[in-house]
């Protein structure tokens, strides 16, 4: 029994001795903000396809058919109908901060100049339609966030990301040449997803696909305007979503 007791004491001594003989515990590192927040820069260049449709629903629903020279009542009558279909290059830059390697908050700036055709029609029942072909400039800016959900978790999906932005884009306003008046800007959102591959150090390169939806809405109420003949300022697009953009871009990131 005494031998067993000695054996236990010896083992305990060895164990305690082992602990205290180990290397001294390093002092805990004091973390700074820069351990969690990193600068983030992104540049994108690609192509996009854009479709814009804006029209105003008629209030009276009475249409003057000038060919037949008679008044026609149409429940689905619209006026000041503008549409654009086109595709072209775009560039975009994002400046922001990366938070604990998983999320990014950024400011977004860009410019697109799609080439296509603009269609103008005064009333939906009109036979005449005016078409202009060419490019339009569409600068935009916004604020957004991007998430890298698999960083340091699934190496194979390390560079995968998804993002969303609130965007204001400026329209070219060419409809004013045809006496149509809509807001000269559109507001909406942009969703994007893609993958980055590390090139060297903090530099990554990848590909991004995106889709955006913008509205040319107005909250102004013109129903109390004084009656008058001349330019009708009512501009209340019938559709909530007026512009759809689909794009694909080469993406370079420093983070």
């Amino acid at each position: 029994m005494i031998r067993v007791l000695f054996l236990v004491i010896c083992l305990a001594s060895a164990a305690i001795g082992g602990v205290y003989d180990s290397k001294p515990v390093p002092q805990r590192k004091r973390h700074s903000v820069t351990d969690f927040i990193y600068p983030y820069f992104e540049f994108m260049a690609g192509v996009e396809k854009i479709t814009t449709k804006i029209k105003t629903e008629s209030y009276t629903h009475w249409y003057h058919d000038k060919k037949l020279d008679k008044m026609v009542y149409d429940e689905d009558l619209y006026y000041d109908i503008y549409s654009f279909n086109g595709a072209g290059p775009n560039i975009e830059a994002k400046l922001g901060v990366q938070l604990i390697k998983h999320g990014v908050i950024f400011l977004d700036f860009g410019l697109a100049w799609p080439i296509g055709s603009s269609h103008y029609k005064y009333y939906s029942l009109d036979k005449e339609e005016y078409v202009d072909r060419g490019y339009i400039y569409q600068p935009f800016f916004g604020i957004g966030t991007k998430v890298y959900p698999f960083v340091q978790w699934l190496p194979i999906l390390d560079g995968l990301f998804i993002g969303a932005s609130f965007i204001r884009t400026y329209a070219n306003g060419s409809w004013e040449d045809y006496g149509m008046t809509y807001n000269n800007h559109e507001d909406g959102y942009k969703l994007e997803a893609g993958h980055l591959w590390n090139i060297t150090g903090h530099y990554f390169i990848g590909i991004t696909v995106s889709m955006a939806s913008y509205s040319c809405y107005t909250t102004d109420d013109y129903s109390h305007d004084a009656f008058g003949i001349g330019w009708n300022p009512t501009r209340d697009p019938a559709d909530e979503d007026n512009t759809a953009v689909y794009g694909i871009s080469l993406t370079v990131v420093f983070k």
Partner: protein, 174 residues
């Protein structure tokens, strides 16, 4: 004694029957403003309005010509003429049950004068006392008319020698 009672009763009645001031002032009821807009393709235009309240009938008119516009009270636009009925309508329409307003418009072109169908303002509008009765007579093109209005009817002329004017509309303002 009976006379005093009668006077007292009359005095009380007149006091109690006096209209309550509703804050609208004396020009609130039965004012009418009727404006006709000249189509570009005609040379001149006349609007003639007949007001009728029971047995009382009176009329007013205004003409538009290229040289002069002799009755443009409101000067809303250089291509329109307006007629207003203020105090007289205010005085007579409220006490009448047989109110009626008729509007006759004529166009002039190439020494011809054509008449549009007479438009009669619905009695219910007058008798039930809208505080303002406003109509506009104009070629309807929604893209070129602003403000709130409803389309009452179209009054194209039967004689089309100056044009069909199928879109010449009667618009009522709220």
């Amino acid at each position: 004694m009976y006379r005093m009672l009668a006077f007292s009763w009359l005095a009380l009645c007149c006091t109690s029957c006096e209209p309550v001031d509703d804050g609208y002032g004396s020009y609130a009821y039965y004012w009418t403003t009727l404006c006709a807009y000249k189509p570009d393709s005609v040379d001149g235009m006349e609007i003639h309005v007949t007001y009728q309240a029971d047995n009382s009938v009176w009329a007013d008119s205004a003409t538009w010509t290229a040289k002069r516009n002799n009755r443009d009270y409101k000067s809303l636009d250089h291509d329109n003429v307006c007629l207003e009925c203020g105090d007289k309508c205010e005085d007579i329409f409220p006490s009448s049950k047989g109110n009626k307003i008729s509007v006759d418009i004529t166009f002039e072109c190439d020494d011809k004068t054509i008449a549009l169908p007479t438009f009669v303002i619905d009695k219910s509008i007058i008798n039930w006392g809208d505080d303002r009765i406003e109509f506009r007579f104009v070629e309807l093109d929604e893209r070129n008319i602003h403000g709130a209005y409803t389309v009452e009817t179209f009054i194209p002329p039967e004689d089309t020698s100056c044009g069909k004017f199928v879109n010449y509309a009667v618009l009522r303002l709220p």
